[in-house]
């Protein structure tokens, strides 16, 4: 299975833009009020940094996935253990994403259809693409869905132009302060940091160096688009309303009205959302199945897909309501553990040790 550098770009971009655009605006605006857009600038820079670090780490061993080279860097047993937080992270987040996405779809499109059906339908598609094409199929799908997603985001931003009032983002900085701005940026950074998945994906590309560049570009473009949309949300709704809504971007799309005819085009946001979630879930399913298969030395990774799929259905339905799934998971597990450990700590650690090992090896030779 080979993927090209453009596919890495589109995959990273598509997987990030959905959730960042829809879910992270509200917490950020709650912290930083009308300076939330500055938080997103910082978050974008931090995200690029994380991606860069993870990419450099993978370049040390370009033809091997994370599971494999962590064993090389840290030795067989330590390397295997250090991967376990990632498995917890991947499997639990698949469940949460399924839950959250189906909640949004239920809120906007349906009222009585049970969540289970929505989840199962999406799961079937995700399994389909993984069985048939693996990462190559996902990459090609993202090359088609990615441009469509971007186009729709840009259209939504564009059509809202006559609802903007520039002065809603004033006064800049004085109401919040550096601390709240940075704190508001934490949630977006943790979502941008999902690009550490490239540690698993870079081994499938033909030119890993260019793959890293394009992955960084992916995060960068998403960061720019999200910052602009945050600006626009603040300018349309003001800080007070947008911090209380669950999904301000969605409401902004709903608010568009052009020539009294083009109204209620929230369906565009739903399409963005479903496409992006689909790519994200497919990549996570692939990475989990492939990773577990490599970890346990199972030859055919496709067999692991079924196990991961069933686990994800269970994990998505155990939350009693949306609040626990989104807010508690975010605050209690994602921000305190995943962000510092999985996204920043372990890659930097491995990178450091890997570089030292390579230098030692060169000295030996």
């Amino acid at each position: 299975m080979k993927i090209s550098k453009y596919q890495i770009f589109w995959m990273i971009a598509s997987l990030e833009i959905g959730m960042v655009l829809l879910l992270t605006q509200s917490p950020a605006i709650e912290e930083a009020k009308q300076d939330a857009w500055i938080s997103f600038v910082f978050a974008g820079l931090a995200g690029i940094g994380i991606t860069f670090a993870a990419g450099k780490l993978s370049l040390l061993y370009p033809n091997q996935t994370f599971i494999q080279y962590s064993q090389i860097i840290l030795g067989k047993w330590l390397g295997r253990i250090i991967v376990i937080p990632y498995f917890i992270h991947w499997l639990s987040v698949i469940g949460v994403i399924f839950r959250q996405s189906s909640e949004i779809i239920q809120m906007t499109l349906f009222t009585r259809t049970p969540l289970f059906i929505l989840i199962v339908l999406l799961l079937l598609l995700v399994i389909y693409v993984n069985c048939i094409g693996g990462i190559e199929g996902i990459g090609r799908c993202s090359e088609i869905m990615g441009p469509l997603i971007f186009l729709m985001v840009i259209i939504t931003l564009f059509l809202n132009f006559n609802n903007i009032e520039w002065d809603k983002i004033l006064p800049v900085y004085t109401d919040s302060g550096l601390k709240s701005i940075l704190q508001g940026g934490l949630t977006p950074v943790s979502f941008y940091g999902e690009s550490v998945l490239i540690m698993m994906l870079l081994s499938f590309t033909e030119e890993p160096k260019k793959g890293v560049t394009w992955a960084v570009w992916g995060v960068g473009v998403v960061a720019i688009l999200v910052t602009i949309s945050t600006l626009e949300i603040l300018m349309v709704f003001g800080a007070n309303l947008s911090s209380r809504l669950w999904y301000p971007f969605f409401e902004m799309a709903r608010y568009i009205s052009l020539m009294q005819f083009l109204q209620n085009i929230e369906i565009i946001v739903t399409v963005i959302w479903i496409f992006s979630i689909f790519i994200k879930l497919s990549i996570y399913l692939f990475v989990s199945s492939y990773g577990i298969a490599q970890w346990l030395n199972i030859k055919d990774w496709r067999k692991v897909i079924w196990f991961v799929a069933i686990a994800s259905i269970v994990l998505s339905l155990i939350y009693p309501n949306n609040n626990v799934a989104s807010v508690s998971y975010l605050e209690k597990y994602w921000l305190p553990f995943v962000l510092p450990i999985n996204m920043i700590g372990i890659p930097l650690l491995l990178w450091g040790i890997g570089v030292i090992r390579k230098n030692l090896k060169q000295i030996d030779e």
């Binding site: 349906f110 009585r112 259809t113 609802n163 709704f237 009205s257 052009l258 109204q263």
Partner: protein, 396 residues
Amino acid sequence: MIKRLKICLIILVCMFLTTGCWDEREINNQAIILGWGFDQNEDGDYIGSAQIVVPGEVGERSSGQGKGYIVETATGKSLLDVTQNLQRKLSRKVFSSHQKVIVIGERLARNGISNILDIYSREPELPIRTNFFVLKNGDALDLLEVPYKMEDMPSTAAMKMFQSTAGPESTTFKDFLEDASSEGISPTLPILEIISSKKEGNQEKEKDTETFRLGGRAIFNQDLELVGFLSYREAVDRLWIINKLNTHKLTTNLLREEGNVGILGMNFKSKIQPIIQNDQVEFHITLSVTGVVRENNTELDLKQPKNLQIIERSFNKNLKNHMISTITKVQKEYKTDILGFGQSVHKKYPRKWKIWKKYWSKKFSDADITVKVDMHIERTGVTGSPLHLKESEIQK
């Protein structure tokens, strides 16, 4: 083995197909509510009235017998309760995603409307693009029953009336929420009044000549209770100050000449500048408008630039005086900042604002206001002077 699993999965999926769909609703089983009215009776219960489309009577196929809509009411303790009780009267399911107009009776407005607002932000089916109105001197139910011949649905008529001054895409609900939730401004809502069209000001309302019109603005305080009204002209001033006035036709008497001139105003802009001196705040308001002369009832020849300047000067003075009187009325009589002065202080002097916002209504009432109006006349229509005057009468 894999093949058998696949077949099992497909059968499983097909089972879902046989259980029917949960959310399917036929359009013709929905009661589409276009306009909604809120009242409160003496017991404190809410009365909701709904203007519901009857699709079979809409359009050319209707022989003119039906009005195309019906009005139904129900009582309850909260909006959700009212909707549930309303459903008992309706043969179709309540569908409120297309509500364009919501009218609040005056009594309910005076008692405070914060209890009915939550559902409008929370319920995903209710759009944020609705228009709220306050009905002066009456119950909202009466308004919904007034027929309006020019539009299919009277509710759309109310909405379009509002949009003719404020702009085609403006709505009142989002602005209301924003103003209510922020600390620098108090919210307002536009007013509708029921009048009988032939005899203005007549107390007896004859049913078939009844109609409604756009009034001024209803002022709410921070507890969302109705405290006062602005007249229509004052409401226009307010829209101008907060930069939301789209077009308006202004008429004024000239200062030194006889007669009046009417212009169509476009590009209404305003700039509020707060200046703080010795812990007191002054506001300098600069207003500008571009005008096109539409009616000239004087003898001036408008081809001469100096005549245009005369007209501009008259407008500037008269508009300024009216604006000052409006602002003073809001300051002294109602003491609520509905003009956004607090917000401008917040934007320019954020640190001061942190201190002042606790007692802003006092500070607001004591502030000094200076207004400057700048009108610029661009065109004068097709002629310079009126065509019906004799040559000797024209003043150059």
